[in-house]
Amino acid sequence: MSVAHDVEEEHEVHVHQEPKEFIWKYIFSTDHKVIGKQYFLLAIVAVVIGLGLSLAFRYHLATYTPQGMFLNPDHYLQAVTMHGTILVFMVLTTAPLGGFGNYFLPIQIGAVDMAFPRLNMLSFWLTLLSFLVLIAAFVVPGGPPVSGWTGYPPLSAINSATPGMGLGQTLWVGSIAIFCLASLVGAINFIVTTLDLRARGMSLMRMPLSTWAWFITAIIALLSFAVLFAGGLLLILDRELGTSFYIPAGVVFGAKELNHKGGSPLLYQHLFWFFGHPEVYIAILPGMGIVSHILANFARKPIFGYNAMVYAIAAIGVIGFFVWGHHMFQSGMSPYVAVAFSILTMTIGVPSAIKTFNWLGTLWKGNIEFTSAMLFALGFVSLFVSGGISGIFLGQNAVDIYFHDTYFVVAHFHLIMGVAAMFSIAAGTYYWFPKMFGRYMNEPLGKLHFWLTFVSVYSVFIPMHIMGLWGHPRRYAGFEYAFLNDPMIPSMHNMITAAAFVAVLAQLLFIFNYFWSMYKGAVAPENPWNGTSLEWITASPPAFDNFGGKEPVVNHGAYEYSVPGAEKDYIMQTDPPEAAPHAAAH
């Protein structure tokens, strides 16, 4: 007997026994599958609130008159701020990574659970706490902050800067700080699990691209959230203790000079965007992985350029850390630095272009089935192209002079990190729902959901690009300028608002479908889509230890579809090596 066996034994004990009581089984569970679903539920609650807020301010913009505003300017900015914060942190970071990542990463690599299940639970509960603290900002005196999801000081650092900047802003910073801790704990788990708990034969280059994406995303989160935490720490010290990290001397409020010295508002922006830009990839990389996974499955083809896809994910992860300055071209930052950031920003277009090429290549000469999951994956590709293209404008420092902080920027990042990421979440849900709940989601309803969403989101965001070209600045609660008095502006706003209502209401269809199918959906078999990866070798839903006490042994790559000479049109990763001599090399 190995000397290390006792240590292992002790470790295994709390992993392998399924708790019996409801509270330990479903609430304080250490099972990665339950935690994944908890994250997903949290994201659903958050998305309802976040999108509800967007309807409120879209309605405000469509019906604006100076006399009878639907929201007053404070409430408008509060809605905008909370919409951004809730969606970026509580939806786009939790659902693809915390939700799907937690549920499927261990299964896809053949592990029984995450490396540190209790830390995993801690990560979820910290996220929930962070969410509750953020939501609490709605009920405190003064309400939530108005400083936008970016929370730039001095606006965010000074209570008297504008109404609503009191306790609400403090709760906002606190919530972000807790979220950072939660994400760090989560990220550690993802990384260790991927590195150390892969099944026999599951080499890194045999991992599904979704797993690769979660793994790289976790590394990005690990390195970036710590820096945001530092940024938030300094901000809260400036707010609560009166230090001068961000607040310069000679700042005047209410005709009185504040007692601050020599801080730099740009310091915050650097710390924030050092996190903030990688955050974009935290939101979108899992989507890229999920979509790759689904495209190969429903095109019945191996991923076109699997290695290039892996390197592209990694390259995006690395370059993503060196481009944050492109958010600050017009901020007063050194113009020489801006040149460097601009060129680096363009290089990140290269791996993104490779991914697009390879998605198209995966479809090429395929045998494409149009399930709801596949439609959303195809929609993702289209949105990724559209949203990525406008990034070519904003990444250029000279062009950004005109576009900075206009609706063009809003349209750009909504398409790519908002809508595209949402499409990947929807795609992943339709795809994996049978595995998670043992039942299919309703397909006709799913297709209706896709069409309503696909058409309406483009109707929202393409016009926004045009408004950006006209120079319409973002975060305006009203239209107090002559140039916003063009008759085209209100008609555009009306159209966008109408489309936004369709887009948001269509998501209710999705949520209804989700819960309805949990109980009423058609029963799904083990491998409903004839997929190849490890999640399809186990029961639907999987056993507590994922593989029912068996250990998968991996003999093939993740995407062996339509292998010539094979019996079926797919070879599962665990099929014996002789299943397809031709494919075994991969």
Binding site: P73, L155, K256, S264, A308, T347, N358, I368, Y402
Partner: protein
Amino acid sequence: MQPLALVVALVVLVLGTVVPFFTRQHLMPEMITSHGGTIDNQIYITMFITGAIFALAQFALAYMVFRYQAKGQKATYVHGIWWVEVGSIVSSGILFIGLNLMGQGVWANMHLKEPSRQATEIEVNGQQFKWYFRYAGNDGIFGDRSAKLVDDASQNFMGVDYENDKYAKDDVVEAAIKVPFDRDVVVRLRSRDVIHDFFVRELRVKNDAVPGLEVKIPFRVDKERMYKFDLSGVTAATLDAKDVSAVKGAFESHGIKVTDNAEITPIEFKGAGGKVIKRWEFKTYAYSLYDPVNKFWPLTYSIFDEGGVMKVYKTGYEVVCAELCGNGHYTMRAEMEVVSGEEFDAWLAKRSEECKSYH
């Protein structure tokens, strides 16, 4: 059914997006600065290239979806084609980085070059939710300022030290900005409270005004001003009589709506050597779409006597704030007026004297 619908949707998307740009319906407002053209060119080149990539990629997606929909065929077992991978890396790299490098000249001219010494300096001060502009006055030197001296009640918004600094006494502070035509101008952007952003669409100038920092942005308004047209049959006397009806037809035939409260104001300065500088300011108003009763926006034009022919130019523009600065962010505007260099000098000399005698 699904693939066909997707093809239609993608084709509609591409046409609906690309066509408006080629019909030039939805582009930027006209620009009036020397560097503006290079920015616009860069935008158009980018638009052209990305528009092509956008269309190609969406059409390629539509093609794949349609051509390879499941009809019982067997998918081809391909793991990739090396030259496609390498080709996509090389071509996208060259394209994106090349495009970027093309734009660096514009940036360098604006930000990396030492601004001309003769440039007219204008200090732009942002505060919640107003802009104030300071000119150095006749002595050409800005007076000291200190946050301690800020006193909104006596209209000392930026704390200029009128008491102790002799250079300060003749400084001119205005709520609207006057920019001399065809001269180098440097705006010194500052803020006294939160971050604001100085944005004039037609100048193609946008930069944050950050508290504790001064950012210098040079530009030169040198384009033939917009809406240049003749007023035939109108004489100086008619304009001096402020007779709006005499010019109404001409303005409306150029698409400028003349409202009932439109007005003509003769503006006259004595320039260097006693030369008379004269123009007529024509202000019409756009009633707000949102508040037609109480709100209207001035649209300012100037009429110049060019050898007996009366010519109209657009001279009024709008400064806005483009960085979230609080609940009144959307109301933070100022008017910008482009005037001839001579008039600018005469105006500044006069205002500077007035300010000096006041302080």
